[in-house]
Amino acid sequence: MLKKLFFWIAVILIAMWFLTPIVMIFLAAFTPAEDYYNPHKIIPSHLTFEHLYKLLFLLDGWKSIIISVEVALIAIGLSFLIGLPAGYAMARYKFKGKRAINLTILLTRSIPLIVVAVPLIVIYMKVGLSDTVLGVALAHTAMILPFVVLITSSIFSGISVEYEEAGMVFGLTHFQSFVKITLPLALPGLAASAIYSFIMSWNEVFVASILTLTNRTLPAHILNTAMASPDYFKFAAGVMMAVPAMIFIFFTRKYLISMWGISLK
C-alpha cells in the first residue's frame, strides 16, 4: 500500500517536472497582457489568441513557417536521396573502408554546426546562396544526412536479406526486389526517421540565423523578433515552435521508439 503511494508520488513528481514548464508556456502564450503583468493572477480571466495572431500576421510569422517547411522538405529530400542508398550499402555489403566511413559519419556529428556556419556563409556569398532557402536547406542536409545514413542502415539490417533474395529468385531484378519487398517492410521506420529529420531541421536555429537575413526559418525569425518583445510574445512563439513537433511525435511515437530500438541493437 505504502509502496503504491510512493510510486504514485514519484509518477506525479516526474510528470510535473516535465509538464509544468510546458503548461506555463501554453498558459502565458494565451494570457492577455494585463493579466500577465498582474502579480495576483496566475489563472488568466480569459484566453486570447491575440499574441499568436500578431506573431503570425503582423510580424510575418506565417512566412517563416512556410520557409521552415520548405527548408525541411528540401533537406529531407536530399538527405534521403543520398542517405538511403548509403544506408543500404552499409547494411548489405562488405567493402573496404566501411568502418572508416562509419566512423567518419559519426565524427561529423561531433563537429558543432556553428563552427561550420561562419566559413559556410563566406562560401555562400561567393556562390550566391546566402539568404536563400536552398542555402539553409543544404546546411541542414549536412546536419541530417549522417543521421539518415546511420538510421536507414540499421533499419535495413533489421530486414532479413533472404526476403530480398527470394524476390530475386522468383522473378525480380535486384532493384525491383528492393522497391517491392524491402522498401515496404522498411517504410514505417523510414517514415519515422523522415519525421525525426523534419523536427531536427524545424528546431535548428544557429545556422539558419547566420545564413539568412530576410528568408528566415521560424526559429531564426523568432530569435530575431520575439526576443525583443514582451514575454507573452516569447511564450506564444514557443507554442508555435512546439506544437508541430508535438503533433508529429504524438502520431509517430510507436515508430520512433522502434526506430531507436533497432539502432540500439
Binding site: 532479413s160 533472404e162 526476403y163 533474395e165 527470394a166 524476390g167 530475386m168 529468385v169 522468383f170 522473378g171 525480380l172 531484378t173 519487398i181 515496404p184 517492410l185
Partner: protein, 355 residues
C-alpha cells in the same frame, strides 16, 4: 525440368576457397542432396546455382543452356530458404501467387495454381492469413508452395527443415520427398543432417572444404566411402579408425594395431594402414576378430546400446549393439567384428584401399 551440369566451378572469397573446382552432373528429375559440415561450401554451391552468388570461374548449364552469368530471375529456378523468407507484408495467397504475378499470368490462372499448390501442401485454409499468424511449420509449407507454384527447372532447398522441431522434421522429410517424386522436379537440397540426406536423396554429394568428396547413393557412400572424411562423416556414431602395421607373407596379411590382429586375404601393399570399422558392425562375444576392451561410458538408446571402451593401450573404441544392455564402468568386455566389414585407408592420402 532440367538436367544440371556444373563444370569446374570455383568461388573464392579473397583467400578463402569456398568452392574449389566442383564438377557435378544432376539428372533431370533427380533429388540430389549436398551434404557436409558447416563451412564446407554446400550453401555457396547452391547459391551459385541460383545465381544469387556470382562465381569466380567455371560454368553452370541447365540442359545445354549456359546460365553461369544469368540473373536469378532468368534461370527459371525456385528456392526454399532456411528462414523460409515468406514475405511478411503479403497474405499467404499473395505470397504463393507472387512469382506468377511477376511473370504476368492471368488472375484466373494464378488463382487456379495457388489453390493447387496450397492443396498439395495442405494449407488451403490458411490462404487469407498473414505469415505472422502462422507457426514455423506452416510458414515452411507456404515457402514450399511458393516454390512449386510455377514449374521451376530446378528447385533449390537450403536446409529447409533445420528450423523445425524434431517430430515435424521427420514428417516433412517424407512429405517433401513424396512431393518431389510426384512433381518430378530436379531438386538440389542442402543439409548437414546425414539422416535427411540418406532418407531423401536419390544421390548424395558429400562436400568438405570446397571440394566434392564423393557422389553416390546412400548405400554406396555408407558401404564404400572413398576416403576417411566420408567414412567418418557418414554414420552415427562415427566410424572407429585404428592404425595398423601390415605383416605380410606374400599372399595373405595380418594387420596389427592397438593389440588387435586382423587377418586379411590380400596384401594391401602398404606398411601401415588405417582400419575403419563402424560401431554397429562390432558385436558382443568372440568372432572372427576378437578383442577385449574396458568399458568407461555407455549410452542407452533402449533400441540399442552404445559402448565407449578402451583397448589395452588406451585407444578408444565405440561400438553399438542392438538391444538394451547393462554394463558397469571398468567392466572388461569381449567384442568382435568380421573382416568383411572393415574399410582400409592409406594413412597418408586418407584414400580408400580396395582389397
Amino acid at each position: 525440368m532440367a538436367r544440371v551440369r556444373i563444370e569446374n566451378l570455383k568461388k573464392y572469397f579473397g583467400e578463402v576457397k569456398a568452392l574449389d573446382g566442383i564438377t557435378l552432373d544432376i539428372e533431370d528429375g533427380e533429388f540430389l542432396v549436398l551434404l557436409g559440415p558447416s563451412g564446407c561450401g554446400k550453401t555457396t554451391l547452391l547459391r551459385s546455382v541460383s545465381g544469387l552468388e556470382s562465381v569466380t570461374s567455371g560454368k553452370i548449364f541447365f540442359n545445354d543452356k549456359d546460365v553461369t552469368n544469368l540473373q536469378p530471375k532468368d534461370r527459371n529456378i525456385s528456392m526454399v530458404f532456411q528462414s523460409y523468407a515468406v514475405w511478411p507484408h503479403m497474405k499467404v495467397r499473395d505470397n504463393i501467387g507472387y512469382p506468377m504475378k511477376i511473370k504476368g499470368h492471368s488472375k484466373e490462372e494464378i488463382e487456379r495454381r495457388v489453390n493447387w499448390a496450397a492443396n498439395m501442401l495442405n494449407i488451403s485454409e490458411l490462404l487469407d492469413r498473414y505469415p505472422s499468424q502462422l507457426s514455423g511449420g506452416q510458414r515452411q509449407r507456404v515457402a514450399v508452395a511458393r516454390a512449386i507454384v510455377l514449374n521451376p527447372a530446378v528447385l533449390l532447398m537450403d536446409e529447409p527443415l533445420s528450423n523445425l522441431d524434431a517430430l515435424l522434421r521427420v514428417k516433412m522429410r517424407s512429405e517433401l520427398k513424396k512431393l518431389q517424386e510426384e512433381l518430378g522436379v530436379t531438386t538440389i537440397y542442402v543439409t548437414h543432417d546425414q539422416v535427411e540426406a540418406m532418407t531423401m536423396g536419390d544421390r548424395i554429394a558429400v562436400m568438405n572444404r570446397g571440394k566434392l568428396q564423393q557422389v553416390g547413393t546412400a548405400s554406396e557412400i555408407y558401404h564404400k566411402p572413398v576416403n576417411m572424411f566420408v567414412a567418418g562423416f557418414i554414420g552415427s556414431p562415427q566410424m572407429n579408425f585404428l592404425r595398423a602395421k601390415t605383416v605380410s607373407d606374400g599372399t595373405k596379411a595380418i594387420l596389427k594395431g592397438h593389440g588387435v590382429d586382423i587377418p586379411i586375404s590380400s596384401d594391401p601393399g602398404l606398411e601401415e594402414v588405417v582400419v575403419g570399422i563402424r560401431p554397429e558392425h562390432i558385436g558382443l562375444g568372440k568372432g572372427e576378430v576378437s578383442f577385449e576392451a574396458t568399458v568407461f561410458f555407455i549410452e542407452k538408446l533402449m533400441s540399442s546400446t552404445i559402448i565407449h571402451s578402451t583397448l589395452e593401450d588406451g585407444k578408444e573404441i565405440v561400438s553399438m549393439i542392438p538391444g538394451d544392455h547393462e554394463f558397469k564402468n571398468g567392466e572388461k568386455v569381449t567384442m568382435s567384428f568380421s573382416t568383411e566389414k572393415i574399410h582400409l585407408f592409406d594413412p597418408k592420402t586418407e584414400r580408400r584401399i580396395e582389397i
